[in-house]
């Protein structure tokens, strides 16, 4: 389990989506790091890449719509961070499929993904939540 209560930003729908995202990434990390033949883990890698390209996009869209509705001043910067992440995942998914899901490349992505996700939630998303609190806006 990588989800921690301290990652909550106080906006219930977004917290729920983050928890789901963390749980799926935790499952992925656990699956690729457990004992066993790599070939048996490839299905999990494929599922996770699909999940990252679908659920993450849905979550990012929700966050961005939420920010626009609030008039959040750092909306564009946050959008750019999301776009860079989406491009990174898309390019990794293509690279994995083209190269046959090599273990080393997948382990490297998993490490980066874990650190990226934690930082994004504790930094950029917390900043957005702080704005909501400071402005006295309704969640």
């Amino acid at each position: 389990m990588i989800w921690k209560e301290k990652y909550k930003i106080g906006i219930p729908t977004i917290d729920k989506q983050h928890e789901e995202l963390f749980n799926r990434v935790a499952d992925f990390v656990q699956a690729i790091r457990q004992e066993g033949r790599w070939e048996e883990k490839i299905e999990k890698v494929k599922d996770t890449m699909v999940f990252l390209q679908e659920y993450v996009v849905t979550h990012f869209n929700y966050e961005e719509q939420y920010q626009q509705a609030l008039g959040y001043p750092d909306c564009e910067e946050h959008h750019n961070i999301h776009e860079a992440f989406k491009a990174d995942i898309q390019s990794a998914a293509k690279e994995f499929a083209d190269a046959g899901y090599h273990e080393q490349a997948v382990q490297i992505l998993a490490g980066r993904l874990l650190a990226w996700l934690i930082n994004h939630v504790v930094a950029a998303d917390q900043k957005m939540a702080q704005y909501v609190t400071e402005q006295g806006l309704e969640i």
Binding site: I32, Q107, A110, L114, N119
Partner: protein, 152 residues
Amino acid sequence: MKAEYVNPVFKAVTDVFKAMLDIEVSRGATGAVAGGNQEVDIRINVKGDVSGSILFQFPQDTTLNIVQIMSGMELKELDDFVTSAMGEISNIISGNAASYLSQLNYHCDIMPPQIAVADAVVSAHFSHKTLSIPLHTNIGDLNICISLDEMK
């Protein structure tokens, strides 16, 4: 090298460790920074108004403790998953440092992390080109070598 480049980097390390890991960072004693037989070295090149590099040296024990906090899993070796997570943390720290430098009117970009695992134990060294900052946390020590020159 100007000492004013040090504070943005130190602030970025303390902020990122606090936010991501709930860990406090303080300046450590000058000298060797040990913890295990290997270390992870991550070099991030910087280009712009200031150019050069920031080298993060994480001893093995510190590295495993950091990635264990993030992953909730017990880790035993410096494999690709672990070193990649450390590369991303160093990337995040350097991005924040670049942002603090831009507030001092030094605008620069950071390059992707270059990751290596070395057998040597981290040893802080000083020269007119490089400033080494040994740091201490309750999950282990680390060292940061800053080598930046003004290009303006």
